[in-house]
């Protein structure tokens, strides 16, 4: 982290998408149940959980100047973002094509957040010149 407190576009995308996914998890996901409700927890909760982890890392290092360990289980934080972002994107698409009835407002917030956070994670690789993309 460069100490610049102004978040980059990719970081902003991750922050906003993570927040949207967290907020969305408390709105109706399927029928009148939210992502924490019966029949959906913890399956539908994985998506906002990934988003929150990613947004927290960006928020803590960017705004709280917190120094996190440089690696987690052999992954740099950029790689953690890439992996969680892509998995979140896959899950979002998975939920999009699944057959649950009465998809609620929270469902759409989570799905859109999942796709946005995947895009943010990919964009972050370019911004930080990790060499993972292009």
């Amino acid at each position: 982290m460069d100490g610049n407190k102004s978040p980059t576009p990719a970081e902003l995308t991750i922050l906003i998408a993570g927040a949207v996914m967290l907020v969305g998890s408390f709105f109706d996901f399927a029928g009148s149940a939210n992502a924490w409700g019966k029949y959906l927890f913890p399956l539908a909760t994985l998506l906002p959980l990934y988003g929150v982890i990613m947004a927290l890392e960006v928020g803590l290092t960017k705004f709280a100047n917190m120094r996190l360990p440089p690696q987690v289980a052999g992954f740099t934080w950029e790689q953690v973002h890439l992996v969680l972002g892509i998995l979140a994107g896959f899950m979002a698409v998975g939920w999009l094509i699944t057959d649950i009835s009465h998809k609620g407002f929270g469902f759409w917030l989570e799905v859109l957040g999942g796709i946005a956070i995947a895009a943010g994670a990919v964009s972050l690789q370019r911004e930080r010149n990790t060499g993972a993309i292009g």
């Binding site: 399927a30 994985l46 890439l82 992996v83 993309i133």
Partner: protein
């Protein structure tokens, strides 16, 4: 090409195959109204949210097993050392983690009047085995024999 499989890769290859086979067997069983209905991981329009979500776990297992199978048995097929800057050990770890977590989430989810079928148990065990195999690769438990 190296035809000798390391224990970690045997675990991943076997688990991937079990995951794929399990996905075609009964995931949920519903008994009632004088009959029994079964739903596999590919069953759409059942309203239980299996297809699309359990499918992610299946795809994780298939990709992991395919990478191991191709690098071990396929003549002349070159798999890139890295994908998006991630080494294959890291990819296996990420996909194994996702497969195990998804199946454990299905296990923990309230299923109401449904019962788990044989396919679910195959997929759950395979998901956990994929994670174990990936950890074995990373920690080097048998990873150096291949």
């Amino acid at each position: 090409m190296n035809r000798k499989l390391a224990p970690a890769n045997i675990v991943i290859l076997t688990a991937g195959v079990v995951m794929l086979i399990g996905s075609f067997l009964s995931f949920y069983t519903f008994s009632g109204f004088g009959g029994t209905a079964t739903f596999s991981a590919w069953s759409g329009a059942s309203g239980f949210g299996i297809f699309g979500i359990a499918t992610v776990a299946v795809l994780c297992g298939v990709v992991m097993a395919a990478q191991v199978g191709i690098t071990t048995f396929a003549n002349g097929v070159r798999v890139p050392d890295q994908v998006l800057g991630l080494g294959w050990d890291q990819i296996h770890l990420a996909l194994g983690f996702q497969a195990a977590l998804t199946m454990l989430a299905f296990l923990a989810r309230s299923k109401g009047t449904l019962s788990f079928g044989l396919g679910f148990w195959f997929m759950l065990l395979a998901g956990i085995a994929l994670m174990v195999g990936a950890i074995m690769r990373v920690t080097g438990s048998g990873a150096h024999l291949a």
